[in-house]
């Protein structure tokens, strides 16, 4: 035990305090897990695991609950948000580190960090009052009349564009996670040794080639880390999407339809859940999200570790 080998009492107590602080986190997490399991036991008993995960029924009146629609909504909004956010975030990071003149770097950097500091409820209200009308009036009809006519891809843009739908929610989510990905990617890009970049330039590489062949491979890890972080954030994001997703429990192929995510369901229905089975099922949903986030982050971590190993070789 390295902690006990230390002789200085101040040192020892310092180590113990930090160790205690760290263990509280583990304790808290397991505590939350236990509470979630206990509170959802009623629902687990009635619906089981497989049936709950695969049932698309969510009907508080008949007390028949299933998580499939909410899980679907969670993944589809997160997925689309990442598709929008990752290229934008990497573009921002490249601009700040490689292209932007020095006097612009600080203001853009600060602006991005401010974006991360805005409370998510503000994004939610902005989404409802500003973005949703813009989406329903201009962007979605345009998408519908262009891509909507293409076979196969067109199924993504069917229905009446109302602005309260998967697409709007995903756009808001993507704006929320851009700062995370961008600032971590920027820090990672900055770690690329100047010598390596300069030697690439000296052999005649263009800016694009330097970014593509030197900076990006060098900082892959950091970028992945940023993406994993924003993935976690997007999975659990609540208030920003609660207002613009419609909380409609359905699995739909069109991005112009309302849907529900796990967190949106919780935020919308928790306070007025009046029966025990209803409340227990909401806790069960939370448990599902808890496990899902754990699995997703574990997978992300695994890839990071693998990349790290490959990279250090």
């Amino acid at each position: 035990m390295p902690i006990l080998q230390r002789k200085n009492p101040v040192d020892l107590s310092f180590s113990l305090i930090t160790a205690f602080a760290s263990f509280t986190v583990v304790l808290l997490i397991s505590g939350i897990f236990v509470v979630l399991v206990r509170e959802s036991s009623l629902s687990i008993g009635k619906f089981g695991v497989l049936k709950f995960l695969t049932s698309t029924e969510w009907n508080p009146v008949t007390e028949s609950f299933g998580a499939a629609t909410a899980i679907y909504g969670t993944f589809i909004t997160t997925g689309i948000a990442l598709i929008i956010a990752i290229p934008a975030a990497i573009g921002i990071a490249v601009f700040i580190t490689e292209i932007s003149p020095n006097f612009l770097k600080a203001p853009i950097g600060v602006a991005i960090e401010l974006l991360a500091a805005i409370p998510s409820i503000i994004y939610g209200m902005w989404g409802l009052f500003t973005l949703a009308p813009i989406m329903s009036r201009y962007i979605e009809p345009a998408l519908k009349s262009s891509i909507g006519k293409v076979p196969l891809l067109g199924t993504l843009f069917q229905g009446t564009p109302m602005g309260i739908d998967i697409l709007t929610a995903s756009v808001i989510l993507s704006i929320m996670i851009i700062p995370f990905t961008a600032s971590i990617a920027r820090d990672a890009f900055n770690l690329t040794p100047a010598v390596v970049k300069e030697s690439a330039y000296s052999v005649g590489a263009t800016k694009w080639e330097v970014v593509k062949d030197v900076v990006l491979p060098y900082s892959k890890l950091g970028v992945f880390g940023g993406i994993a972080l924003s993935l976690g954030r997007a999975l659990g994001e609540t208030m920003a999407v609660a207002f613009v997703l419609g909380n409609n429990h359905q699995i739909t192929s069109s991005l112009l339809n309302a849907a529900a995510t796990i967190t949106v369901t919780l935020a919308n229905e928790f306070t007025e859940a009046d029966t025990d089975m209803y409340l227990s099922s909401l806790f069960y949903l939370a448990l599902v999200l808890f496990v899902l986030s754990f699995i997703v982050l574990a997978i992300a971590k695994y890839f990071l570790l693998r990349a790290e190993r490959k990279y250090s070789r």
Binding site: P133, M162, N248, E269, E272
Partner: protein, 336 residues
């Protein structure tokens, strides 16, 4: 919005005072719908008597659980509990204040009170059986109007709420199809339509989407200048939503003290009664007499002095006859 901001300020002030001394403090928790009016009453009550009310709007579900666990002096719920539920947790129940739910529409050139609907039409629209504004059923109800051939955008609440409970009880009571296919509750499985979060979400949607219909609390229709509809009530009259129409509903509604006032104020028989109204309820613990007496003292004071404030915030005060019934109920249970 303004109303909410004002009341947040008021309640913050009230709460910060409550930290100061050791005077009488009353703790309540529950429904968020009556929160603004309870806070306003609490502020006036404090000025008048020096006793404080600390009300946490954690939602009806939470309110019921808190009073069942005896952690507060009173709980509040938008939906009445049945006598069986009340007996199980040894609780008393009475209504405190009311609200009305109105249907609002958005059609170019259509003003408040222009469209006439009955429960069958509302039910069919919300079931998705009536899809266009120029449906035969709507035409018969509005012979003088030129209804357009446009699809109806149905707007409902996306979150669980007492407003939805009142509205779906109205539909279940008036329309057997609805009762069989959907039912009533704080949130239901909607056959059609899009969901807005909160009254503000629904208002926003109806305001933005042409040819839409939605249901909101009366206050939101007024504040957002939305075009409410007339509704045909049980007596067969088309009525306009107003304080008088809500009060008539309450006066003729069948609130029975023997059933602890367990009653949905929908489809009330009064001649001028608005068919979609609802009271919000207070729950007291039978075995915690001190708490209940303190709570009753507050609500008795509010019944006497709070009507004007309630109306200012567009809540409907209880009619005198119902207040008298409630006082008799308190007396019978030895807490007044």
């Amino acid at each position: 919005m303004k109303r909410i901001i004002l009341l947040v300020v008021i309640s913050v002030v009230t709460f910060s005072f409550s930290l100061a001394g050791a005077e009488e403090i009353l703790n309540g928790a529950g429904a968020s719908f009556p929160y603004p009016v309870y806070s306003a009453w609490a502020y006036d009550y404090y000025k008048a008597t020096g006793a404080k009310l600390n009300y946490q709007s954690i939602g009806s579900g939470g309110g019921i659980r808190q009073i069942a666990n005896r952690t507060v002096d009173f709980g509040a719920s938008d939906a009445p509990l049945t006598p069986a539920q009340l007996n199980k947790d040894n609780l008393l129940q009475f209504p405190a204040v009311m609200g009305g739910v109105v249907l609002v529409v958005n059609m170019p050139g259509v003003k408040a009170g222009a469209v006439r609907l009955d429960s069958e039409a509302v039910c069919k629209v919300y079931l998705g059986n009536i899809k266009y504004w120029d449906d035969a059923k709507l035409k018969t109800l509005n012979p003088k109007m030129k209804l357009p051939h446009n699809e109806i955008t149905v707007v409902h609440r996306s979150d669980g709420s007492g407003t939805t409970a009142i509205f779906t009880n109205y539909l279940s009571g008036a329309c057997s199809d609805w009762k069989a296919r959907v039912g009533a509750g704080t949130s239901v499985k909607w056959p059609v339509g899009i969901g807005g979060k909160g009254n503000e979400g629904v208002s926003q949607y109806v305001k933005k989407a042409q040819y839409s219909i939605g249901y909101v609390e009366f206050a939101y229709a007024e504040q957002n200048k939305l075009a409410y509809t007339l509704l045909k009530n049980s007596a067969g009259n088309f009525v306009e939503p107003s304080f008088n129409a809500f009060e008539d509903a309450a006066a003729t509604g069948n609130f029975d003290p023997k059933k602890h006032f367990d009653h949905w104020l929908v489809n009330a028989p009064g001649k001028h009664a608005w068919p979609i109204a609802g009271a919000t309820f207070i729950l007291l613990a039978k075995d915690k007499k001190d708490s209940s007496v303190k709570s009753v003292r507050f609500f008795d004071w509010a019944f006497k002095n709070g009507d004007a404030k309630a109306k200012e915030l567009i809540y409907v005060p209880l009619p005198k006859s119902l207040k008298d019934k409630i006082r008799a109920y308190w007396k019978a249970n030895g807490i007044y």
